[in-house]
Symmetry: C2
Subunit: 377 residues, 2 copies
């Protein structure tokens, strides 16, 4: 047993008691009416999270399975332009490379995506664009609306990884022109890890490829979803479906508008603390990008080791995230997604503040109080 009491990662996130209880059901028949009703109700709420009228399917697999499904079903053998400004953008590019003729349009991690280069790729015939909406590895929110506009202008499909934005931040898939949007269960939805949901537009269905994978064949998912009761082509991860269903009922009760407002307030409070500490946000923004509202990436102060911050915080029972790959030790990241509210934020900021002071960082102001001001204006 680890002694971490509170996960403040960009997913997985702490699960509400109701969600845990929902998972602890005896196995039910996944071709029966109870499962079908849970799937149907889940999809209704997911549509409000995605901002879509399109059909939504739930796959038994991680967010990466959703991404792989999106790109392999609609992009296999095609010219794909992949915007990359962080680890997950890079993963999309890798998936695109396995499936088609992919061009990676890379910016430094945490800097804005290159819209000019994207337009050039579209002019050169790209048939699909991939982008991560909320790039957690760098704490940056990418311009989905702009990219959607460019993709439509050049008649390309737009595949958007909404794994860590859908259900927490504002997502308007239909309005933005997103053709395939993906979310993972263990992030803003505050459900257990292991499911992905995929929203698919008619434009995408019209261009589905012949040479599809088997397990992740979205046409099979669609066919089974149209059955009565609604079902999945292969045995689904039943306990996770039941947990996700419960978390979506909680989202419905909270209301998406209130939920987005809460996520904005939580992340604004973290940013207020960062400013009060005199630390620097990691992302560099332009007019189209913004700080993530579900994870805050902070530049590690000069001369401070990762262990001095994250290690000390962990000793106090709280786990925050470090940098990934080449950003290891260069940044730390505080997740604020899912069911997170003031107590978790205040506890986390107090622990980080203590760690910074203990590590001898000069001029660390009272970020906890600054955050409290945002939380209770």
């Amino acid at each position: 047993m680890e002694d971490v009491r509170l996960l403040m990662l960009p997913g997985p996130v702490p699960l509400p008691e109701r969600v845990l209880q929902a998972m602890m059901r005896q196995a039910i028949n996944h071709r029966g009416p109870e499962f079908g009703a849970a799937y149907t109700e889940s999809v209704e709420v997911l549509k409000t999270c995605f901002g879509t009228e399109n059909e939504v399917f739930i796959l038994s697999g991680s967010g990466t399975a959703g991404m792989d499904a999106a790109i392999s079903n609609f992009g296999k053998g095609k010219k794909i332009a992949s915007l990359v400004n962080g680890k997950f953008g890079d993963r999309l590019y890798e998936i695109a490379s396995r499936n088609g003729d992919a061009t990676g349009i890379a910016s430094e991690w945490g800097t804005p995506v290159d819209l000019a280069a994207l337009e050039e790729a579209l002019e050169n015939g790209a048939e699909m664009v991939t982008m991560v909406h909320n790039e957690t590895s760098a704490g940056i929110l990418n311009p989905a609306k702009e990219v959607g506009r460019l993709a439509r202008k050049h008649d390309a499909l737009f595949v958007m990884d909404g794994v860590t934005s859908v259900g927490g931040d504002e997502v308007l898939a239909d309005e933005w022109g997103v053709d395939v949007a993906i979310v993972g269960s263990q992030k803003c939805l505050a459900a257990p890890a292991g499911l992905a949901a995929v929203a698919v537009s008619d434009r995408a269905w019209d261009r589905i490829v012949e040479d599809r994978p088997y397990y992740l064949d979205l046409a099979s998912y669609r066919k089974s979803a149209h059955k009565e009761p609604m079902q999945t082509p292969y045995t689904p991860a039943v306990p996770l479906f039941l947990g996700l269903h419960e978390s979506l009922m909680m989202i419905k009760e909270e209301g998406m508008e209130a939920r987005v407002a809460r996520h904005h307030r939580m992340s604004a409070s973290v940013r207020a603390a960062v400013a009060a500490w005199g630390l620097e946000m990691f992302p560099q923004l332009d007019e189209h990008s913004a700080y993530s509202n579900t994870v805050t990436a902070v530049r590690m102060p000069e001369g401070v080791a990762d262990a001095d911050v994250r290690g000390t915080v962990k000793k106090m029972g709280i786990e925050i995230a470090g940098g990934q790959d080449h950003l290891k030790g260069k940044i730390f990241r505080i997740g604020s997604m899912g069911a997170v509210s003031a107590p978790e934020i205040l506890a986390t900021l107090a622990a980080v503040q203590h760690a910074l002071r203990k590590a001898g960082v000069a001029g660390v102001g009272d970020g906890v109080e600054a955050a409290a001001e945002v939380l209770n204006p």
Copy 2:
């Protein structure tokens, strides 16, 4: 809420209380030592279930994901011979067809697989053989040892679907020459649905293809499994891993030999009831095949409707399985896998016996007593 109290299907199976409790944990970090230890311990027990010294990987996806991984990683673009004598054999053939140059070697569902035709296909250059060990759609146990011998003789890889045998019936993957064996979590392992485990031989690794899928790339699973602590390439379905780990600890406590003996006793008791009822077993056996020890498929008596048997049984709170596809209404199937023991068997047989008598089937003997004799010899 459905009023079914007891699932006696060929999976999903009722989950032991310990397994349900294990799932109801708060999210843990899937890159941390606790998750790594659970994965490592799980693999150790799974090796005893598979009868293998090979590496075993756990995928977040259903048994079909495991099958798709096996065939796409090791059979893409190759000549594949698929033995088919039931629904799941047919699924393997479909997956093989998506991935390579597949030949389906079909027998009537529930009749023995055609070993002569397999040998011919191997002589004609088949590089991979696929077979379902325990074909639940027809209640027949196929000759893995014979098929393994033929595959080795002709230097082909042998991919075996052990979804409903591994963890319940005797499986000796290494001794039989199985190169890739797959199990699903919600069958004999008595764990929640949504995970597949795959055991891979060195012969298979030597022949892994270049053009692999992304989410189901077994080379990625292997790379991540070699990390310290052991992990998965993408976010795993954590609650299911914890549930499966607990069910595997229960298997370790019971011991595989005792577990196999229990499954044999349970299915023998069901067969004893079928004989006493004067009904006919569905499978037709040859010297290489046997009745399944985890599900019993029974021919529906002449003039009796599916609803008369399964409907009546369901009214008493017990769900048994019907026939699939063209066998709908022609057979019924009683699952006896996982944590099943005498009380569940006796209740189920008593309900089926009552249904048969109520449906007016002539000469229905006391199958319950016949089963009790087997259960308590």
